[in-house]
């Protein structure tokens, strides 16, 4: 280590490929996937988390440039210098990483020709995190290009480089020999070229729950869309209440910054005061801006003046813009704008007649009504009412998750229709089209 080490003081770092190689055989998706994996090499073993963003405020801006590109380190055409990166720090270029666009960037090609983009990116991100060049023979931080380093999905840093990055940031819990934590990796990071063409044949994940025969840990309306959480997965419905996909998505891959060992969440809601999203698990909570966790979380739920023990459900009632927390037979009313609990709580559940006193979760929906979920059923309370609408409960699987009656396990509410005729909400179809084996997907953007 020949330079005084500089390092990031924060653990969640954003990145973005701002400019792509112009006439390269590598497509943009491949370049982004390689950047993802090259960063993942470092985040796998340290407490760092990387997430891709679209805006220009990314911590690590990645550019492919030629010759003089206004940073005092001009490139020199093919060969010679091929890339560089700026160390962490307060200056605006800190962390930025530049690749020489005069090089023939390759991926999974033989040693002979081209410059392996993944290998060079791992090296440069070492600089972007604070490492300088190393003389050690097989260190990735040797200054000279040494050819491809193998499959990005299986690459692991040489020991010398691990020790040096641990000296800067410490060890990620899951890799520390002393902490026995089962931390399965989110298994579906961005795809790499070979598998791109058979992407559609990915079999549904073995351990994924089935949406038609489960109850949910948490349900939330976020930015007008409905999210149903179960274990480490979630289903998403767009504003028209269309299920985006029958297959659940991996919670950790979308909600960036949740600890990998978190195997489920207790409750989720969108804060009406600033539209940030709050996740609860046990006595801790996380606040997300968009789908990235904010710095400084998790924090204790005592911030809400809630007692230890966690919450079962949380939602903001449109009628009075208060946030309600539920635990066992009790509920609290919280003012998110003033950030304080209203006096006189907890109170005995339920506040809404006809709604069960213990809940899995609750949410407000764009129709102004509130929905309460428990087991495989849900109750609807019309806006401003204090009583469940007649004809409820109904089957959550059938009315929200596109399950046919025969798929819905043990539901005793099949075939009844709510007084408001909302048995099969608009846009849903009784008969799930997935019967004939096709994916039922809708594009949300």
């Amino acid at each position: 280590q020949t330079l005084a080490p500089t390092k990031w003081n924060k653990r969640n770092l954003s990145w973005r490929v701002r400019t792509f190689p112009r006439d390269s055989a590598l497509g943009r998706d491949t370049v982004r996937a390689l950047m993802y994996y090259a960063l993942k090499v470092w985040s796998d073993i340290t407490p760092l988390n990387f997430h891709e963003v679209a805006g220009s405020a990314a911590d690590i801006q990645i550019d492919f440039s030629k010759a003089d590109h206004n940073d005092r380190y001009p490139f020199d055409g093919p060969g010679g210098t091929v890339a560089h990166a700026f160390f962490p720090g307060d200056h605006h270029a800190a962390g930025d990483t530049h690749f020489d666009d005069d090089e023939a960037w390759t991926f999974r090609s033989s040693d002979a020709h081209g410059m392996d983009l993944f290998a060079v990116a791992v090296h440069e991100f070492g600089h972007a995190l604070g490492l300088s060049h190393a003389a050690a023979a097989n260190s990735i931080m040797r200054p000279y290009y040494q050819g491809p380093v193998g499959d990005p999905l299986r690459y692991g840093l040489p020991y010398e480089d691990r020790v040096r990055i641990w000296q800067l940031y410490g060890v990620r819990e899951s890799v520390s020999p002393t902490v026995q934590l089962h931390t399965p990796e989110p298994k579906e990071p961005p795809l790499l070229p070979e598998s791109l063409d058979n992407r559609s044949s990915i079999p549904p994940r073995k351990d994924a729950p089935h949406r038609c025969s489960t109850h949910f840990d948490a349900v939330a309306q976020i930015r007008g869309e409905a999210f149903f959480f179960k274990g480490k997965y979630f289903w998403r419905l767009n504003r028209d209440r269309h299920l985006v996909s029958l297959q659940p998505a991996q919670m950790h891959r979308f909600w960036r910054g949740l600890p990998l060992h978190l195997d489920s969440v207790d409750a989720v809601y969108e804060r009406t005061s600033d539209h940030k999203i709050v996740f609860f698990k046990g006595d801790r909570y996380w606040v997300f801006k968009d789908n990235n966790v904010e710095e400084g979380y998790p924090r204790p739920i005592s911030d809400f003046s809630l007692p230890p023990g966690g919450v079962d459900a949380a939602f903001s009632w449109a009628h009075n813009d208060r946030t309600y927390f539920f635990k066992d037979q009790l509920y609290w009313r919280y003012d998110d704008h003033m950030r304080r609990m209203d006096p006189g709580y907890p109170a005995q559940s339920p506040l809404w007649r006809g709604v069960p006193s213990t809940l899995d979760d609750a949410m407000r929906w764009s129709d102004g009504a509130s929905y309460f979920f428990r087991g495989q059923k849900y109750w609807k309370v019309l806006d401003g009412e204090l009583e469940a609408a007649p004809g409820y409960p109904q089957s959550t699987a059938r009315d929200w998750l596109v399950c046919g009656d025969q798929q819905v396990d043990g539901s005793d509410t099949a075939g009844t229709t709510g007084a408001d005729g909302a048995h099969a909400p608009p846009g849903q179809h009784d008969q799930s089209r997935s019967e004939d084996g096709y994916e039922v997907c809708s594009c949300t953007s």
Partner: protein, 85 residues
């Protein structure tokens, strides 16, 4: 080893300066390097690059200088090549 050609020496000195083995050439005085300083810088670069530290600009050293690499210096500009790591 055959004596290096003038252009190799000039390439070598510029390269050594660029990657932190020699102090940046002073634009005003053109700061010529003494043979001894040049030799120390070459030895430091050879050692960092895994070559035998002969201090002589031989073929292997010139070849390594032509290998594609990262633009960042190997040593901080302020650290003289002779600093013991």
């Amino acid at each position: 080893a055959p004596a290096p050609r003038a252009e190799d020496l000039s390439l070598g000195a510029e390269w050594l300066s660029r990657f932190g083995y020699l102090p940046p050439a002073d634009p005003a005085t053109g700061q010529l390097q003494t043979q001894e300083e040049l030799s120390k810088a070459i030895a430091a670069m050879q050692q960092f690059g895994g070559l035998e530290a002969t201090g002589v600009l031989d073929e292997a050293t010139l070849a390594l200088m032509k290998t594609p690499r990262c633009s960042l210096p190997d040593l901080p500009a302020s650290a003289p090549a002779r600093r013991r790591r």
